[in-house]
Amino acid sequence: MALEFEKPITDLETRIAELKTYGVTSAVDMTEEIALLEKRLERLRLETFSTLTRWQRVQLARAAGRPTALDYIANIFTDYQELHGDRAYGEDAAIVGGLARLEGRAVIVIGQQKGRDTKENIARNFGMAHPEGFRKAMRLMDMADKFGLPLITLVDTPGAYPGIAAEERGQAWLIAQSIQKMTRLRVPVICTVIGEGGSGGALAVAVGNRVLILENAVYSTISPESCAAIIWRDAKEAEKAAEAMKLTARDLEKFNIVDQVITEPKGGAHNDPEAAMQNLKTALLEHLAQLEGLDESALIRDRAARFRKLGVFEEISA
């Protein structure tokens, strides 16, 4: 399923494939033409992806074929052992996590998990956690803290679920508790926005010593649709809202909200998941190596200092 703006690219890909078939079946030599077209394709791809609008990035971040947290976990880590439950109310499939090894080093990994098809999306509530999901994440954080294991989180959620039961069970409190838990962890914490970083539901698992983001991922305080609905009273103005919101990886980098933008392969992570995963793995290992030099209290101070600087304002000279 190609996104709207990917259509010219996929169309051209189809044409080239057809031409190749024709060349074989008709025994007419099309080598030169095909080579030309492939160069054209390359250029088209480059043009499209180097001039993506913010709204197009939002679409990429949400693309159906984009790798999910469990895909990254399966490929970047070994020995993943999923653990379940919040020890209080329920098991929330919108957040997954457990023990795993990253190049042999034991870590705790937590991921916000969207479905890879409709059925799974329903089971995982489209990656939107209830309070028990955040409580489950907190339990895993406690485990990381207790055993001195680095914590790796993968952020990918439209946001915390805005439902009656979720509010009834204290969505606001659980997000706040999870944030607070992360401020106190005595272990290295590396968080990566791999797709959608939606508001408080994303931040609840994104208070890290490092916050990384994939090139086509987004991170914002509200969805473009909701922003548009509030401002223009029309969710269809989402494209306009996305532009105003400055929610792309490169935007966020400017404000130091993220520490590194992880390059995605040409055409986005969904076009070459292996490459995207390899890039993230390399980054995780680099940052982890840096952080493992810090002791427990230095890790907390480092994380606090990172967030202390965030915000833009000016001093009033009296």
């Binding site: 944030i179 401020t183 991170y219 305080t221 909200i257 915000g311 000016e314």
Partner: protein, 309 residues
């Protein structure tokens, strides 16, 4: 105590906003429809004498109702918002900011300062819903963070009165980051065993509800305040059913286990003072009666502070 004294540290270039005083008239309670003379309402901390309805409370009036007379010394107001995203929707963010400044005479939605309560040293942060719906931008996050740091360094308990629609859209993810920044600043308070008490007023929602407001050592709420993470319109659109009666109100969350006590505004002064005294194991302070209070205090909910035994 004059209002000037209350705000003596306000930077000189800032003009005071409206006086916050109600006009000398009769008004009508929106809940019980009773006629009430505004002066009387004022003396009653804007709680309807007939039905207990809590009107919104201007920041200055609230401070007056909480702290020992003449002790509030403002520390906030030395920073101002810029427009880092160059955010323009139907109008530029800068224009919105300017309007809020004019309306409130402030630079942001947080007023903070030192004071005493029953003689105990405290730091207060009060959010002003009149400033851009109490939304949390960089300035608000920074004011709260600085207040927490100041409270720690001066060894003061911190009381935060929340009133907010949530994050400030126009500052994008910078706004979101304030949720974490403020939470980090609580750690020093905690390690010094300084109490952090939050008071949730109508409304406390979104990113404010989901960060510093929720994690007070004690969380109290005014009656019938709207509280929660998601807005009711969003929830309704998501679940496509009617919301239950009383949903997301203070009493609802008290029943659901998320609030320590729903407490009438007229009892906050006594209640908060005694809480702080106990949490810091200091002798029982005598709290002077509030001068502006007109009618006798009602018996407190869920416990009494009267000396017994």
């Amino acid at each position: 105590m004059t209002l000037e004294r209350f705000f003596r540290r306000r930077p000189p270039q800032q003009k005071e906003g409206t006086s916050d005083d109600l006009p000398d008239l009769w008004g009508k309670c929106p809940k019980c429809n009773a006629q009430v003379y505004n002066k009387e309402l004022e003396q009653n901390l804007r709680v309807c004498p007939t039905c207990g309805y809590h009107h919104r409370m201007p920041v200055k009036k609230r401070l007056e109702g909480l702290v020992d007379a003449g002790t509030f010394e403002q520390t906030s107001g030395k920073i101002r918002a810029t427009d880092p995203l160059e955010f323009v929707d139907t109008e530029p963010y800068t224009a919105r900011l300017e309007r809020s400044r004019k309306k409130t005479g402030r630079e942001g939605a947080v007023v903070a300062g030192r004071a005493t309560m029953g003689g105990l040293k405290v730091m207060l942060c009060v959010m002003d819903f009149e400033f851009n719906g109490g939304s949390m931008g960089s300035v608000e996050g920074e004011e709260i963070t600085r207040s927490m740091e100041l409270a720690a360094s001066e060894h003061r308990a911190l009381i935060l009165v929340a009133a907010s629609g949530g994050a400030r859209m126009q500052e994008g993810a910078l706004s979101l980051m304030q949720m974490a920044k403020t939470t980090f600043a609580l750690e020093e308070l905690a390690s010094l065993r300084l109490p952090y008490i939050t008071v949730l007023t109508d409304p406390t929602t979104g990113g404010v509800a989901a960060s510093f407001a929720a994690i007070g050592d004690v969380v109290i709420a005014e009656p019938d305040a709207l509280i929660g993470f998601a807005g009711q319109r969003v929830i309704q659109q998501t679940v496509r059913q009617n919301l239950p009666e009383g949903f997301q109100r203070s009493e609802f969350y008290e029943k659901k286990g998320f609030i320590d006590a729903v407490i009438d505004r007229r009892e906050h002064r006594e209640h908060l003072t005694q809480l702080i005294a106990m949490l810091t194991n200091q002798p029982r302070p005598e709290v002077t009666a509030l001068v502006i209070q007109a009618d006798p205090p009602k018996p407190p909910r869920g416990g009494l502070f009267g000396r017994r035994g």
